[in-house]
């Protein structure tokens, strides 16, 4: 095994449990599902976290169960999902702790 030289920037597994070391008193987690209009979860969707000015902040790919997760800060954010089935946006006013959001995509 090799030691990572610095924690990378790639998106971690979106289905993994939250790390035990995570302090939810400090972290603002925005998490949830991407769904199609039929209600089915959409795996492999690209979810973009946009700040209050619409500027890109981060992007992850949904898990096989359609899950995504961001570590942000309290405030207003937009989640924008891109998928082969279409795109969709959801606004979220996030507070410290866990914020659950569903983004629905449609062609």
């Amino acid at each position: 095994m090799t030691a990572p030289t610095a924690a990378g920037c790639a998106a971690p597994d979106q289905a993994a449990p939250l790390p035990a070391s995570l302090d939810l008193e400090k972290e603002t987690v925005i998490t949830g599902l991407v769904k199609a209009e039929s209600g089915e979860a959409v795996p492999g969707a690209y979810v973009r976290l946009l700040d209050s000015t619409g500027e890109f902040t981060a992007e992850v790919v949904t898990s096989p169960a359609g899950q995504f997760r961001f570590f942000a800060a309290p405030g207003n954010w937009t989640l924008r999902a891109l998928s082969r089935h279409g795109n969709g946006d959801t606004a979220v006013a996030a507070a410290r702790g866990i914020n659950e959001v569903t983004v629905t995509v449609a062609a």
Binding site: G8, C9, L49, D51, T53, E55, T57, F70
Partner: protein
């Protein structure tokens, strides 16, 4: 350099999957994406285990790069097409290595994995075996790599481009928002650095914006063409994306990537740091 020599479209790539002398290389930090499906014939490079020195904080040296490419079956005269996830961040980082070690013909796949997937183009899980080569790398071209002292000296004299998100620049976040925020280093940015998030250069499908749009973005942000430029981010991969835009697409000269980036600078003792949305004073 220009768009014609540095970039290929997904259409071109799909037509040239089997072209002789063309090698597709998927580069990711987490290569599990490759294992679930990759472009036919593409070999993989793992940013962490293949491209970083296993002990020191540095990337692979000339001999390690030669051994890696030889083992993956990449030859000096191959046309290498790099692509990956995260909007091609790690592919752009690898592109910068290929240039640093003097590879003649290397290009990025515009839009990377995301565009390819959103287009529903084919991905396969076949195991890819290429015969080993005897790859010979050139001595590293440090004209495209900045080290920390040069960054400190550049404050107020060269273009410093911070390509992280606005909240990381201002010091409100310490890492991209898909990662936990606990970090050892201080928050903020190098004084006088302008904020041009890497994402300004990309469309939402991951493709690069047009040359005219790109020129306007950096001009509006205050990039002075007559000065040398150093781009940085947190660990040097998002800034590779911006380095690629400035030097390889727009043909600017004297652009360096500071791969130490904020994880190094933000941990240095005694260097100046600016907080907030403004570049700050030298």
């Amino acid at each position: 350099m220009s768009r014609d020599t540095a970039l290929v479209s997904a259409e071109w790539a799909e037509k040239n999957i089997d072209a002789p002398g063309v090698v597709f290389v998927e580069v990711d930090e987490d290569t599990s994406a490759y294992d679930t499906g990759h472009i036919a014939g593409a070999v993989k490079l793992d940013w962490r285990t293949d491209l970083q020195d296993p002990v020191r904080r540095d990337f692979v040296n000339q001999a390690q790069f030669e051994a890696l490419l030889s083992e993956r079956g990449i030859a000096n005269d191959d046309t290498v097409i790099l692509y990956g996830g995260n909007n091609n961040w790690f592919a752009a980082y690898a592109y910068w290595y290929f240039k640093l070690y003097g590879h003649r013909d290397v290009k990025l796949l515009d839009g990377g994995r995301k565009k390819w997937e959103l287009d529903a183009r084919p991905l396969v899980t076949d195991k890819v075996e290429r015969p080993a080569t005897q790859y010979v790398a050139q001595a590293p071209d440090t004209s495209i790599r900045a080290f920390r002292d040069e960054v400190v000296d550049a404050i107020g004299s060269k273009n410093l481009v911070d390509v992280r998100s606005p909240d990381e620049y201002a010091g409100r976040l310490l890492a991209p928002a898909h990662l936990p925020q606990e970090q050892a280093q201080r928050a903020g940015h190098v004084p006088t650095a302008i904020s041009v998030p890497w994402s300004k250069a990309a469309n939402e499908d991951g493709t690069f914006k047009s040359d005219d749009e790109l020129r306007k973005i950096y001009a509006d942000a205050g990039l002075d063409d007559s000065r040398e430029t150093i781009a940085y981010c947190r660990i040097g991969e998002r800034s590779s994306h911006t380095w690629f835009v400035l030097q390889e697409l727009l043909g600017q000269r004297n652009v360096k990537n500071y791969d130490g980036s904020w994880t190094e600078y933000g941990s240095l003792v005694g260097v100046p740091v600016a907080l907030g949305d403004e570049p700050g004073e030298a």
